[in-house]
């Protein structure tokens, strides 16, 4: 610093720093693998420590009932509370899950695309990214273009979002952790998730924008026509399990074959694989995700049916898409991967809700994986695929199941 020139880094220093960085990079591969294994072990230990939630829930319910009896409250208060609390818990859960899924999708997409994804927001690996997005979207100006069909425009996001709430009611999250276990749980879930078509059509027509109309019409055609193969692909499961209630289906897959091999529906020789594959593909199409994202094709229809929606309205559309993805994969986990039952009896110490979460996230990963590898179909090719491929295959699958059942003499 004597002659006023700041100290320059010499070439040796620069090369030394470069080599150190290179060495750190080699070690980082082994470090990453180590961290992953560590994470899995810690996760399993923590989860098994928490253990089954069902006894705790039942003890809490009894405590509540005894309190109400002590306080001499009328009967209907007890009943409504016992219904209200699970509903509120479910609502809270459904708010948090899309936030996590959006962050996870952006990270998975980024790492698939040789980049890092959200890092800077909220410190470690951008965990607070979606929270910042949600707050910002909440504070945006509410814009209603003047040519818009007012009430249709305003109601569309609600009608798309509400069915995704309803779909979570009969879905079990673990032993006893069920919102309300219907007898026809499966039919109810599939029927309710088809309601969002109305909302999408309203959004397309309401926003008086040529691109949205095109997007809305395409969405209606796609969701309605993919509803049929999705329902038919689930029929073999019902034929085997004999009941429509989701907890019933889960029990049917609980006892492992010969003591160790899991009796999950996906391992049934031919019937299981076909129906699982068609179920996954049709639920990707139901939630309008690539390669079936024809209604909101970014490169063609600007943003499809939600072109005119900004701020909180767009956030609702965005959240409902991820709620449907989670509901679809949760249903898939119950029907095909045996819900809460462990892979091998030896792993029984891991509680059922952890199994549930793991299997659902695995299926969600398939949704994400498909989105960032496949290009998009054209509208008419999507329809051909649905009517000329999936429909015949599901019918063949049902026929096969019938033959096997008759042969087994059930």
């Amino acid at each position: 610093m004597s002659d006023g020139i700041p100290p320059q880094t010499t070439v040796a220093e620069y090369v030394g720093a470069f080599q150190a960085k290179e060495k750190r990079k080699q070690r980082s591969w082994r470090m990453a693998a180590l961290q992953l294994v560590l994470l899995v072990i810690v996760g399993v230990v923590a989860v098994s420590l928490i253990g089954e939630l069902d006894p705790r829930v039942r003890r809490g319910a009894d405590l509540l009932r005894s309190l109400l009896v002590m306080g001499r409250a009328p009967a209907w208060v007890g009943v409504s509370l016992l219904l209200l609390i699970p509903a509120l818990l479910l609502m809270l859960l459904i708010q948090v899950i899309p936030l996590f899924l959006v962050w996870w999708e952006r990270k998975v997409a980024a790492h698939m695309q040789v980049r890092l994804g959200p890092m800077a927001v909220g410190g470690f690996h951008g965990w607070a990214q979606t929270i910042a997005d949600a707050i910002k979207l909440f504070l945006k100006e509410i814009i209603e273009p003047d040519g818009v069909d007012k009430w249709v425009f305003r109601l569309a996001p609600m009608i798309v979002f509400v069915p995704s709430y309803l779909a979570f009611a009969p879905l079990p999250f673990g032993v006893g952790l069920v919102g309300y276990s219907f007898d026809i749980g499966l039919l109810y879930v599939l029927a309710v998730s088809g309601l969002s078509t109305v909302g999408v059509l309203m959004a397309g027509w309401g926003s008086a924008n040529k691109f949205s109309i095109l997007g809305g019409l395409r969405a209606a055609a796609q969701i309605v026509s993919f509803e049929i193969p999705r329902v038919l692909s689930v029929v073999p499961v019902v034929m085997w399990a004999g009941t429509l209630s989701l907890t019933g289906i889960w029990e049917a897959q609980a006892q492992p074959l010969g003591g160790w091999f899991p009796k999950w529906f996906i391992f049934y020789p031919v019937i299981g694989q076909i129906s699982f594959l068609i179920y996954i593909i049709t639920s990707i199409a139901e939630t309008n995700r690539v390669p079936f994202d024809v209604p909101e094709a970014e490169s063609e229809l600007v943003a499809g049916f939600h072109t005119e929606y900004g701020g909180m309205k767009f956030a609702i559309f965005f959240m409902s898409e991820y709620a449907y993805v989670f509901a679809g994969s949760l249903l898939g986990a119950v029907l095909f991967l045996g819900g809460g039952s462990p892979l091998f009896p030896a792993l029984g110490f891991i509680p059922s809700w952890a199994w549930f979460l793991g299997k659902t996230l695995a299926l969600v990963f398939i949704f994400l994986w498909a989105r960032w590898t496949f290009p998009r179909f054209r509208v008419d090719r999507v329809m051909d695929l649905c009517w000329k491929v999936f429909l015949p295959w599901t019918l063949i699958n049902i026929f096969l199941t019938g033959v096997v059942l008759l042969w087994r003499g059930l």
Partner: protein
């Protein structure tokens, strides 16, 4: 129905969006693939007449990036014009410089040293590979696949830009090829790094094929879409990969070689029926051909000076000259009329993208909305060159 042009807010008096199509049938709809649209690669506006999903008429409307470069050229000296030429086709600025310098060198009758010719070939071909990588990425996005863009554009093209930056300091507008030769000599070990890059690219091209070229959904979306027959292509004056995709084997580097191209062996990929998939495949194979040329050039890299004998402020004699280069988008020509002063009297640029875009309204009729985007992507035009 009287067409009413969309009137922007009264505050701003300025150009108005004219509706280009007057008569619209009863069950047809006019759709604006507007100046701002994710898939128009910049500011091109295409007015589509839709019958349901099927396109009945498409009229492109240009001029949203018309910067009047040919008027400015008359008020710039020759070296300043090279800077302007970078910004026309900003995806392959080297080939723009080359076209202009070829024409001026014919005027000045300057001898270019062999080392400069080799440098021009290496740099021109690397720029063609970079431009085709941008096409590969954006065409993937048009069809709906996002990941190829990040691999081709984000990772591989950046390495080419590093090589250019090391040589001439700029990432996109290089101003590297000068009249009489090249700006600077390659730093020592540069050709070795280029060879390393070519080696690294070989396994990656296999990955490219897995991602898009052999992807059944991609093939199903592009085969047979937007057919351009050979006669139509020749009649429209279409050049470059689009012409070769229609089966006409015409490549300036092989038929009328300029620079040092006759020292290298490379073959010219041809398409069969001239649909979107052929146009994509021709460009994909051209990447391998260009890498072959770069490899041969780096191996036989001669020594010697890098700049011919040219004055600092040269005044070419009165006369006119036309020279053209086979750029990534087609024949990039430069027609200069000089009147003995240091500024050209008239400088016309043959814009390959502008002429190739004429094929759009022929190809698009009868296809669906999703195919318009695929066809627009496969024509691979750059708006800076279309509007000049």
């Amino acid at each position: 129905m009287a067409p009413n042009p969309i009137r922007p807010s009264a505050v701003l008096q300025g150009p108005v969006f004219e509706t280009k199509i007057e008569q619209v049938g009863d069950h047809e709809m006019l759709l604006n693939l507007g100046p701002q649209h994710p898939s128009t690669h910049g500011v091109l506006r295409v007015v589509l007449k839709l019958d349901g999903e099927v396109i009945t008429e498409a009229v492109p409307d240009m001029g949203y990036l018309h910067r009047g470069v040919e008027k400015l050229a008359e008020h710039r000296t020759y070296p300043m014009n090279i800077v302007l030429s970078d910004r026309n086709d900003y995806l392959s600025a080297m080939n723009n410089n080359w076209a202009f310098c070829l024409a001026v060198e014919k005027l000045l009758k300057v001898e270019i040293p062999l080392r400069a010719e080799y440098l021009r070939v290496i740099v021109g071909e690397l720029n063609r590979v970079a431009s085709h990588m941008v096409f590969y990425g954006t065409f993937g996005i048009d069809i709906g696949a996002f990941t190829p863009f990040l691999h081709a554009f984000g990772r591989d093209r950046e390495e080419i830009l590093d090589l250019f930056e090391e040589m001439c300091g700029a990432r996109i507008t290089y101003n590297y090829i000068r009249v009489g030769g090249v700006m600077l000599d390659a730093p020592e070990g540069w050709t070795h790094r280029v060879l390393q890059f070519v080696e690294r690219m070989k396994p990656r091209l296999v990955e490219y094929d897995k991602l898009l070229t052999k992807n059944p959904i991609f093939i199903d979306r592009t085969i047979g879409v937007g057919l351009l027959s050979a006669e139509q292509a020749v009649d429209l004056g279409v050049t470059g990969p689009i012409l070769r995709a229609s089966g006409v084997s015409l490549d300036l580097r092989r038929d009328h070689p300029y620079g040092a191209y006759n020292d290298f062996q490379f073959d010219v990929p041809l398409g069969k029926q001239g649909d979107c998939y052929d146009r994509f495949l021709v460009r994909r194979l051209e990447i391998t051909e260009s890498l072959k040329i770069v490899e041969q050039a780096c191996r036989k890299f001669p020594d010697g000076p890098v700049m011919g004998k040219v004055l600092k402020m040269y005044r070419p004699p009165a006369g006119e000259v036309y020279a053209q280069v086979d750029g990534p988008r087609g024949w990039l020509g430069s027609y200069i009329v000089s009147d003995g002063t240091e500024k050209p009297y008239r400088h016309h640029i043959r814009p390959p993208s502008f002429i190739n875009l004429q094929a759009l309204s022929e190809i698009v009729k009868g296809w669906k909305m999703a195919d318009v985007v695929a066809i627009l992507g496969s024509l691979d035009f750059v708006l800076g060159e279309v509007d000049r």
